[in-house]
Symmetry: C2
Subunit: 324 residues, 2 copies
DNA sequence: CTGAAAGCGCTTACAG
DNA sequence: CTGAAAGCGCTTACAG
């Protein structure tokens, strides 16, 4: 049978109130009384029921995390950052995904109303910002990890997409490249517009092809341009997966990397080290973004005021052989 | 303010008992009464507090998941399998990691005693089997996803490591390779011993080098053997990350893959498609293993008897260019 | 078919 | 310094 606070109280010859005070270090308790209670607690192996504590206190000491997918290449690092921070603060982490669209968001909203968690870290699933805003207005603390370049009403963590694009361009320009091809991600993502604008601010010339963040997209972009006879001496792909497709298409076409064409990606996912040649890329501080988001949320739950501007973490150019 | 069952009862002019019956579809309730209650529920937006329900019922409708790390390459797929299954059953998923050793396991054990979840899916962190066994004995339903070849007292999900190794060997033999190099993982993992034994049952000859599941390990193994002048016409690496190191070392040494040396990995992580050449590998059904583990646990929570033998999901050889 | 009451395991004014 | 009692929001015998 489960050991309850009543068992401890009886065994120690005190009231439940006193046991509670000892457990929570709240209020004055006589030294010897406290010692006796602690002894009984250890002896019985008493651990307060999180459910009962939550009900009595009106909070669950748990934060929720909502992600569109767990299989995206940078998700593991991000999640690890969140989990580490949350666990260090003795909170639990309730994980939700919404890869089945409206249905799962519905289900999720129910969990919110059920008060299953005190606050939420979210990577925005497409077209959910208005729902999240509604939840936030109704009192749920939310922090957004923004990979799309949105600017919601609630706190968010972003990276320097514009500067990241610019740094890629500066690196290519310094290497003497003048005719870059840009393979973008979906244009309706704010981050894509920022990366492109940053790149263009340094290297305004050269073709642009719309990609879709997939390997195939990168491959088709390069194949198409080569077929048309369009020349370029470098490629800036808006994510690493696309860059992998670019590398493959170039190899198939007999173009040497980096001699004929230098290639730069974005993200620095684990794969980037293992392409041939290894990929020069703009690193997103994914893990740190997760940590920052969790810290922001925990701080807010602890009463700290929410920052009015997005928390911005810098990208970093990682130079490997595809663009030395 | 939060809407409670009392609010609904008052508004509908019935008792809390009746509201509870309507919500949980339990016991007889007059049709028109039920309809009225449902109307009020919808109108007030009532959602039962998960904490209170859990306390009253003695269960949390939440399962825990304990993983050693979230950044391992196949963890995303596995987690997605677990989450999808758990969410579909209307359970919550509480995520724990234990990358800080004993401390985090301690913290985790506390959560168990706090009854924060009803059952546990676990990927075994090193040296924790005895603790898990103790938790299981004390009444916590546990399902192990076993990547190590253990055989615990509680239900587990495994893949066919022996047959996977054998299939790699058959594939190489059919391609006329006779002098394979095997680069293993850590020898104390049961899965490593199984993969090796399976491979050896088909191709008993050739050198074996101990690896450690890292890229560097694979690279060093090949470099060492080439330096010693040991000849081999193929490599079976015990995971894909090691195989990536093998490919790199071979390329550096000027050996062509697959012409001079064919390479087969294990796992089929996302990277395997993107190495040069793309990697032939023994696919672990990671996502399905997650799904199976979650189903097993949910079934057990629902009263189904636990299977006495590990649930075994088959590996599958995925042929790409590194070993056609 | 329906409800009053006890109970789940805690916390927290309030009173002493 | 300590405790009795109410309350958190539910569920579930039990009685009618």
């Amino acid at each position: 049978m489960r050991v309850t606070i009543a068992d401890v109280a009886r065994e120690a010859g005190v009231s439940k109130t006193t046991v509670s005070r000892v457990v929570n270090l709240k209020g004055e308790v006589d030294g010897s009384t406290a010692a006796r209670v602690r002894e009984v607690i250890a002896q019985l192996g008493y651990v307060p029921s999180s459910g009962a504590v939550g009900l009595a206190r009106g909070s669950s000491r748990t934060v929720g995390m909502l992600v569109p997918s767990l299989t995206w290449p940078w998700m593991g690092e991000l999640l690890q950052g969140v989990v580490d921070t949350v666990e260090a603060a003795d909170y639990g982490l309730l994980l939700f995904t919404c890869n089945r669209g409206a249905d799962s968001v519905e289900r999720f909203t129910t969990q919110v109303s059920a008060r299953a968690f005190d606050g939420l870290v979210v990577i925005e699933p497409e077209n959910t910002l208005h729902r999240l805003t509604a939840l936030h207005r109704s009192g749920l603390p939310i922090v957004l990890i923004d990979d799309r370049g949105h600017h919601p009403d609630f706190p968010s963590v972003v990276t320097t997409n514009h500067e990241g694009g610019a740094s890629a361009a500066r690196h290519l320009r310094a290497a003497g490249r003048t005719r870059p091809l840009v393979v973008t991600g979906p244009r309706h993502f704010g981050c894509v517009r920022d990366r492109l604008a940053g790149f263009r601010s340094v290297l305004p010339e050269g073709p642009v092809v719309d990609g879709d963040f997939t390997e195939l997209g990168g491959r088709l972009a390069v194949e198409g341009l080569l077929a048309e006879g369009v020349e370029f001496d470098s490629v800036f792909a808006h994510n690493d997966v696309t860059a992998a497709g670019v590398l493959r298409a170039l190899r198939t076409a007999g173009r040497r990397v980096p001699d004929d064409v230098a290639v730069v990606g974005f993200d620095d996912i684990p794969m980037a080290e293992h392409t041939e040649p290894p990929l020069t890329t703009v690193r997103q501080p994914t893990r740190q973004m997760g940590e920052a988001a969790a810290r922001l949320l925990l701080g807010h739950l602890g009463g700290a005021p929410a920052p009015r501007r997005p928390v911005t973490l810098p990208t970093e150019l990682v130079v490997r052989r595809s663009a030395p």
